[in-house]
């Protein structure tokens, strides 16, 4: 489908250079042969959580970003404006004024809390912060973690909890071959952690760990894996082949012979945290044993029983999902944690009116769920809506391209364009080559900006 004749070509702003922003850009450029895309990110880098979420031992997945960057660039109708925070450097109103439409694909980056006592103690951390730290996100490079206790606890049964546990257990010998941030490699090399306990409030059949991540636990030799408090006998044969496969993999983990390895991972099910215990810092976590209760809607929920246990630990990570703040100028539904939208069109939740020319995609639209590729149909749906609105004459742009360029020049941001990002990328790879690693990330904003400004050189080397 293409867009019928219009007076001027569409100019669309996309906020966020993570997967959903990139998917939306490529889809839009492909579907409308005249449209131009201006892509903004508060970071001078591409990737969003693909760069700062996906774990260093899974870095091959990061290739997806460069792949779609190249597709967008090949259109010749695409510009990147890195290090430009929307709402900070450029307001929502200005963005709308200078584009026909705006797609917010800015994700959800804060953590959900547990709401229990002791969560603020030193040693109690959000997985989202830890992940951003070991991946070298400049906002998180200054963090400090004490790995001087033998046990860490991770609360939650999603893939992020598994990422955190692997990073704590893989050991420096293995991590040294990844693109983990140098500061994290140094800190983890001195770690005394011998055991990580992942707490799930329900059972293996309800856990969100995906099959490839479970298979990875079976195939690795760096640490032992133990399952505790398992209720899988309560589960009749699973009808869904995906869940049945996961349960088979749990069974294999259970039967896997214990290794002589010095470190181990404990998957402890049916346990709800009640309190994080400690004086000056975390010393333990108190948990209740749960049972599963079927609710009217058929879902099995956890119900805390009366027996409780105390697990000694020096670190507690909560990994119970992400959440976000509303982008300035947009409505937000605190209950669902997303921007109210219908198929990507932003709506006022009270009046029901459409925010003309304003759209959302990715986690900000659907919530903090789904793998990288899940954002592709999501962004496509948003682009469909945008192009329909354009065809119906519902979009308009007040200012022209020169006015946009003037706004960008005056907004005070030290902008990084696509060439600048490529210079950063190249510098990081070169730094990696020097020490046998795939890449060594630049983690200070000043270093990132200096690399972006460095004259294009060395390419011949």
């Amino acid at each position: 489908m293409s867009v019928p004749n219009q007076a001027a070509a569409l100019r669309v702003a996309i906020v966020g250079a993570g997967p959903s922003g990139l998917y939306a850009a490529v889809e839009l450029l492909r579907r409308d042969a005249r449209a131009t895309v201006e892509l903004y990110d508060r970071q001078p880098c591409f990737g969003g959580l693909v760069r700062s979420g996906v774990s260093p031992d899974h870095a091959e997945r990061r290739r997806v970003s460069a792949f779609y960057e190249r597709l967008a660039l090949a259109s010749g109708r695409f510009r990147f404006h890195g290090n430009v925070e929307i709402g900070e450097r450029i307001s929502h109103a200005d963005l709308c004024h200078h584009h026909d439409a705006v797609i917010y694909a800015s994700g959800l980056s804060a953590d959900r809390s547990l709401g229990i006592a002791g969560e603020d103690l030193p040693g109690s951390h959000a997985a989202s912060d830890f992940v951003a730290w070991y991946n070298g996100h400049p906002d998180h490079a200054q963090r400090h973690y004490d790995f001087d206790h033998e046990r860490a606890v991770v609360v939650g049964n999603g893939n992020v909890a598994l990422d955190v546990a692997r990073m704590l257990l893989l050991g420096a010998a293995r991590l040294r071959h990844t693109d983990i941030a140098e500061h994290a490699l140094q800190a983890l090399a001195g770690s005394r952690i011998r055991e990580v306990v992942i707490l799930g409030r329900r059972g293996p059949a309800q856990a969100s760990f995906t099959a490839p991540e479970l298979l990875e636990l079976i195939e690795q030799d760096e640490f032992e894996v133990v399952i505790e408090n398992d209720n899988s006998f309560q589960h009749p044969a699973e009808a869904d082949p995906g869940i049945a496969l996961r349960l088979r993999l749990f069974e294999e983990i259970r039967r896997r012979p214990g290794s002589a390895g010095a470190r181990r991972l404990v998957l402890r099910f049916l346990a709800t945290p009640l309190e994080i215990v400690g004086g000056e810092r975390v010393t333990a976590i108190r948990v209740a044993d749960n049972e599963l209760v079927a609710h009217a809607d058929g879902a099995l929920r956890a119900r805390a029983g009366t027996s409780t246990h105390v697990i000694d630990a020096g670190l507690v990570f909560r990994s119970v999902g992400y959440r976000g703040r509303p982008p300035a100028g947009l409505p937000f539904d605190a209950a669902t944690g997303v921007v109210p939208n219908r198929a990507g069109r932003v709506f006022d939740p009270r009046g029901g009116d459409q925010y003309r020319g304003v759209y959302v995609a990715g986690w900000l639209k659907r919530g903090p769920r789904g793998v990288i590729g899940s954002n592709k149909p999501c962004s496509r749906e948003t682009v469909d809506a945008l192009l329909q609105d354009a065809a119906a004459g519902k979009l308009e742009c007040v200012a022209d391209r020169d006015a946009l360029d003037a706004l960008l020049a005056e907004c005070g941001a030290d902008r990084v364009d696509y060439k600048g990002w490529k210079a950063i990328d190249e510098q990081e790879r070169l730094n990696g080559l020097a020490c046998g690693r795939p890449r060594v990330k630049l983690v200070e904003m000043t270093d990132l900006l200096a690399a972006a400004r460095a004259p294009a050189r060395r390419r011949a080397a």
Partner: protein
Amino acid sequence: MAYVILGTCINDAACVDVCPVACIHPAPAEAGFATADMLYIDPQICIDCNACAEACPINAIVREQDLTPKLLRYKTLNAEMALARSKVA
């Protein structure tokens, strides 16, 4: 011989778009795509054309004969799961 998807798969479905014999499941239009842990190739239908491997943005697809010992599991997993999926759909 056939092609095999590995666990690094990010469900991007670029492979589905180019497969000439529609043997990669679940496709975005099929049941279960939204909740799939990864995608799988049905080895009985695959005609070894290499199109998917070229299209995959993260090189998550390899030829069966190129699987390293640690990845061998993915051969049976692709076969089993492609079959299980097509039964559900």
